[in-house]
């Protein structure tokens, strides 16, 4: 009978680079930075690492395939190294690999490192997707972008819950304004300026109804984690952070091809969250999850994710957003570091950056973004579009 992962693994070191348009740094430099910070944080040396998991998604505009870029750059001494990829959930996937390896008793100390260098593509936005969808799909794939597909979720959400476009845009703007206020306080964020709801509502449209500030930016960055078995953790540091659950859920095709689903939420998030809550023993996520980093690639994504994670009731997140529930000083702070909104989204790194924030919060190292006495922290990392996606839900705590 499978036992799950709860309290079997602890994070004892983490690193994270500054995220942003790093014109002066290639992926190699970003990898070294996050790796060195993680090692120093753990009090370890490279020779202590038993195996490594490497997360990077758009490899051909970045480092290339396999785990070799990691091994070569860091000069890993012929240890096991595996590249993993699951679109935007890649960072979380790297952590999963490392954690399951130590939990299985196969290795003592494992590294998970994610990196993405997106700013060598030569144009704004993510690399043109049509080379990314496989040979069958690219003959018929519509000319869409990430903002556009999530915009379709906003259109449908407004229509279904009878929210006018103006009210809807205001709700979404409130989400982003909250994140910007938090990101302004994080030294490693890409965007560090607070913005008002009005500024956000008046910004240019990217894909109707989403505007510039409803969309996370494209940036470069890297983050890393070092994990060990939970019963060894205190040998390395007095304040490890424990993994409660590492769940992912992949779309079945039902949302894309069948007509039951309403395009106003993400089914895989519900599945991943349920598995994570069951594994952790959480019955009332709205009141038990102290803080969360969710995949706010777009403001609408964050909004519906609140419902899918069970923080808000179905169709009612607007009330929670407008009442400030998710602000840093609210009952359930979301995106305390500013999220993808302020860090941007180096695809392979984001999942680990989310865990980095939770980790620092539990250790009391979040500076003027510190949340008091958190009990459980949740990260939600989603790759894909509303209709086709892989969602990771990770819960950590003390």
């Amino acid at each position: 009978m499978a036992e799950g992962i709860k309290d079997k693994v602890a994070i004892i070191g983490m690193g994270c680079t500054k995220f942003g348009e790093q014109w002066e740094k290639g992926a190699e430099e970003l990898m070294v930075e996050s790796f060195v910070e993680a090692l120093e944080d753990a009090g370890l040396e490279k020779k202590d690492i038993s195996a490594a998991w490497f997360g990077t998604s758009y490899e051909e505009t970045n480092v290339g395939k396999t785990a070799i870029p990691l091994a070569l750059t860091l000069k890993l001494p012929f240890i096991p190294a595996t590249r993993v990829e699951n679109w935007c959930a890649t960072g979380s996937e790297a952590l999963r690999g490392a954690c399951y390896a130590v939990a299985a008793g196969a290795y003592d100390v494992c590294l998970a490192l994610g990196v993405e260098k997106l700013k060598d593509v030569g144009y704004g936005g993510l690399p043109q997707p049509e080379t990314q969808w496989g040979t069958r799909q690219r003959l018929i794939e519509p000319n869409k972008t990430a903002p556009g597909t999530f915009a379709m979720m906003a259109t449908r959400y407004f229509s279904q819950y009878k929210i006018t476009p103006e009210e809807g845009k205001r709700m979404l703007a409130t989400v982003s304004a909250k994140s910007h206020a938090n990101g302004a306080r994080h030294p490693k964020a890409h965007l560090r300026r607070a913005v008002t709801v009005e500024q956000i509502m008046n910004s240019p449209i990217v894909a109707w109804p989403l505007g510039l500030f409803d969309c996370c930016g494209v940036s470069d960055g890297s983050a890393a984690a070092i994990v060990v078995r939970a019963d060894e953790a205190k040998k390395y540091r007095p304040d490890p952070v424990y993994v409660k659950s590492l769940q992912i859920s992949a779309s079945s095709g039902e949302e894309l091809l069948y007509t039951d689903w309403d395009w106003t939420h993400v089914i895989a998030t519900e599945h991943a969250a349920k598995m994570a809550y069951d594994e952790t023993g959480i019955k009332d996520p709205r009141n038990e999850i102290s803080m969360a980093e969710v995949h706010d690639c777009f403001s609408i994504t964050e909004a519906v994710t609140m419902e899918d994670l069970g923080f808000s009731s179905r169709g009612k997140v607007k009330d929670d957003i407008m009442s400030g529930r998710f602000n840093l000083d609210g009952p359930q702070p979301i995106q305390p570091d500013g999220g993808l909104k302020c860090f941007g989204h180096p695809v392979g790194a984001s999942g680990l950056r989310m865990v980095y924030e939770m980790y620092k919060q539990f250790q009391g190292k979040a500076g003027d973004r510190q949340i008091k006495d958190p009990k459980y922290g949740l990260t939600h990392n989603m790759g894909g579009i509303p209709a086709v996606n892989i969602v990771s839900t990770i819960i950590v705590g003390l």
Partner: protein, 457 residues
């Protein structure tokens, strides 16, 4: 561009293809209108005529047949190289049926000709297509006879690799060619079949020189009311499609018993005459010329027209340069899905799904390889949700797309075309239209697929 050329002073409008249309897509659209409600099993051949085929080698007739999801054991032929080729394709189809080599042939004529900026050619050329299903039995009109003259009259010519026609002097074309060949073919036909010009309810021939168009009629001894309105100032000169488009317009108003005379122009002339039957009353559900004109959209920007037709070399951006290769072996395997918009329908639970699936998408069904082919191209749908995207690269931004729920079942995300953001709303009815998806100039291939569009009534 009128400032460049004082000769371009004619009044009127011309039909212009959208950025995602070309001769092939228009031919498919005309064919779809033509075979509405007709069992496609019964189409045994397809002739496609155009002077502006997207490929020099890769027949438009076969691509069209695939888009229409016709059975593969049919005859196909491409006709080209002259604006008389549309009527040539029609004559050939009739002869094929008479020779009992096929029971029915779909004839498509389509052109999207372009002239240099500021030219009279640019002014007069319209984009359009017509399709006629030729067969036996319950026909709406019978072809009674024809007479052809053929001359190497080099009024317009184009050699390989060139985009634009070249031409000799207009007055010479008009006086020596246009006003001579059409009457010659028509008079030859009248003499051959012992007919009088007064016998005809409608006389149809292209108008490239409006004043001559009128005087040809007079010289034939026809009344003004007999001369079919040449749609020159509402559609333009649609090249090889032109005579057939006017024939369609004439049939829209025809009565049983009417005799209709039609002549092409181009390197001579072909004259044909038809007799309309009682069955003409049965095909009143086609869009034809009238309904297409009634649902027209205005394009008020010359720059947009010029960039759609590649007259203007516009910036496509580095993002658009990232075109993936076309994997022809995949296209072959998936041709019915890609060109024909055929998905699959689960034989166990009856759920239609697109793209075609091996494992049923209905939650709880789970049937594996129990699918039959299901055609979506002629199904209607509704917009479930949509967006207008300024980030997606497009020759005509914003890129509009939406989730389409099909009547009868099935859902997929499709590009939307022939509409603006303001036209859209959740629940809007749409139909599917065959369009050019991309042009890969590096590898010399264009890709085609279907988009959703608001119905044109």
């Amino acid at each position: 561009m009128g400032w460049l050329n004082v000769g371009t002073k004619a009044a009127g409008e011309k039909a212009v293809a959208n950025y995602d249309e070309d001769s092939l897509t228009m031919g498919v659209a005309a064919a779809m209108d033509c075979i509405r409600g007709i069992d496609r099993e019964n189409v045994e051949g397809l002739n496609f005529a155009t002077t502006t085929s997207p490929f020099i080698e890769r027949p438009a007739a076969v691509m069209t047949a695939t888009a229409l999801d016709l059975k593969p054991d049919i005859r196909t032929a491409d006709f080209g190289n002259s604006i008389r080729s549309g009527v040539g394709a029609l004559l050939s189809a009739v002869d094929t049926i008479k020779a009992r080599s096929a029971k029915s042939i779909l004839v498509c004529a389509s052109d999207s000709r372009v002239g240099k900026a500021g030219s009279t050619h640019e002014q007069s050329c319209g984009d359009g297509a017509a399709a006629l299903l030729i067969g036996e039995g319950d026909v709406v009109a019978t072809l009674e006879g024809s007479h052809s003259v053929s001359y190497d009259f080099v009024d317009y010519w184009r050699t390989e690799g060139e985009r634009y026609d070249r031409s000799w002097e207009d007055r010479w074309i008009r006086d020596v060619g246009y006003s001579k060949f059409i009457p010659e073919a028509i008079n030859g036909l009248l003499k051959k079949y012992n007919l009088d010009v007064k016998d005809f309810a409608k006389i149809i021939y292209p108008s490239t020189y409006p004043r001559e168009h009128v005087s040809i009629g007079k010289k034939l001894g026809a009344e003004e009311t007999q001369i079919e309105e040449p749609i020159f100032s509402s559609v333009g000169d649609t090249g090889t499609a032109y005579p057939l488009m006017m024939l369609v317009a004439a049939l829209e108003d025809a009565k049983p018993g009417d005799k209709i005379l039609i002549a092409s122009y181009g390197n001579g002339s072909d004259a044909l005459f038809f007799q309309v039957t009682d069955n003409i009353k049965k095909i009143n559900d086609r869009r034809g010329i009238k309904n297409h004109l009634a649902s027209k959209k205005e394009l008020n920007s010359y720059e947009k027209y010029a960039s759609f037709r590649d007259v203007l070399d516009t910036e496509i951006g580095r993002r658009m340069e990232d075109i993936a290769p076309t994997h022809l072996s995949v296209l072959w395997r998936e041709r019915r899905m890609v060109l024909g918009l055929c998905g699959s329908k689960c034989q166990r639970c009856g759920t239609p799904q697109f793209p075609s699936q091996l494992v049923c998408a209905k939650p709880g069904c789970g049937a594996i390889k129990e699918m039959e082919s299901y055609r979506f191209s002629d199904k209607k749908g509704n917009v479930f949700t949509y967006s207008a995207d300024n980030l997606a690269p497009s020759p005509c931004p914003p890129a509009i797309y939406g989730v389409i729920d099909f009547v009868g079942g099935g859902r997929c995300i499709f590009d939307l075309t022939d509409c603006e953001l303001e036209d859209l709303h959740v629940g809007m009815p749409v139909e599917m239209t065959f369009r050019r998806r991309y042009r890969d100039q590096l590898r010399g291939i264009s890709g085609y697929f279907w988009k959703a569009t608001p119905g044109r009534g």
